[in-house]
Amino acid sequence: MLTSLYVEGNSWFHRLPVRVKLIALLLLSLSLFATQSLYLLVPAFLLCGWLYFSLGMTLRQALARIGLVFFTILVLAAVNFFLLPLPEVAALVLRLMALVFFAAAVTATTTISAFMDEITILLKPLERIGLLNAADVSLALGLVLRFVPDIFARYEAIREAHRARGLPIRPLTIIGPLIVLTLKDADTIAAAIDARGFRRQ
């Protein structure tokens, strides 16, 4: 149900460590926001676009992932068109689109587990000062992934129940029962986790 946005492949960008890609994304956004020059932004846009489209997705797949973000950027550019000088609008659009291309490329070439390993490392300092437990974050993520299909099945069941009684399907009449039924499971799940000793406290 929740298939990751990772795209199978073996390009040089796939092989780059996650940390390098994330730092590159950070540096890229900092440097792109620091410049207004079209001589830098146009090549950056073309390079990021080339990078993104060279990852082995079909054009359709590639566009489907970023279409809505690009649509928002273009709508805002249309507004800006009336308020700002043209070179500035062009710079804004190119900069944002370059960033979105690069960010989408990072997402497409990094597996969930690679991200998780990196997050665990990033959380280490917080763990040391006692703010949180890195293992808890992985546990919580695992729980979400485990329970989404169950909760969706429950949503379908509530919807079927509505249909069987001839009731219209409205968010209001579905969300309440969905939340109550789901959160009522919390105690059972918490007891199961503690019984297995996953969190040594």
């Binding site: 507004v79 997402t107 309440g176």
Partner: protein
């Protein structure tokens, strides 16, 4: 945080994911489709309280960031966060926190029903609309260069839909509170 809190946070994040899978409803009179997902912020604060609600959304944003298509319409990944509406997504956790704080202050057991409705509605509007736009709009303006005033005026178009969402969230939160109260009690 005990294990039960951890599980509540995870389950609520999972509920928000499922709300994104529900097909959106388009109303005739406003052009914006009502996705159940954007009510999640209001629901999280009103139902599981400030701290847990905010954590549920931090977890949700983490899911987005690591490339799971958990946003409505199957969107996700760093590209959405890098785009113009990234501020709204990152503002969700803060919005859920404020919603929760207000709900915890104003809702008590044994109040008349109307006070509870009022409290949940106030919490949803202040947290889910005022705070969220307070973060998302300046962010959008900074990222896209659209002047702040124009960005703010443009987002007024979403306010009617958001008020409707606050109303639905109020009714749902009150229904859950009556049946299975989880909101932490604040002295």
């Amino acid at each position: 945080m005990n294990t039960r809190d951890l599980v509540l946070v995870a389950l609520f994040a999972a509920i928000v994911v499922v709300l994104g899978l529900i097909p959106p409803i388009t109303l005739g009179f406003i052009p914006v489709p009502i996705t159940a997902q954007s009510m999640g912020v209001m629901l999280a604060g009103c139902i599981i309280g400030a701290k847990r609600g905010a954590l549920a959304f931090l977890l949700f944003v983490l899911l987005v960031a690591i490339g799971l298509p958990v946003l409505s319409g199957g969107r996700g990944g760093l590209a959405v966060l890098a785009g113009p509406s990234g501020g709204f997504i990152l503002g969700w956790a803060v919005a859920a926190y404020v919603t929760g704080l207000i709900a915890e202050r104003f809702i008590h057991e044994g109040q008349p029903e109307s006070r509870q409705f009022g409290g949940f509605f106030l919490a949803s509007v202040v947290g889910g609309i005022v705070v969220l736009y307070g973060i998302g709009v300046p962010w959008l303006s900074a990222v896209t260069g659209t002047p702040l005033l124009a960005a703010a005026t443009g987002s007024l178009a979403f306010i009617p839909g958001d008020l409707l969402k606050a109303a639905i969230a109020t009714l749902a939160a009150r229904a859950v509170y009556a049946g299975y109260p989880l909101l932490p009690v604040r002295a």
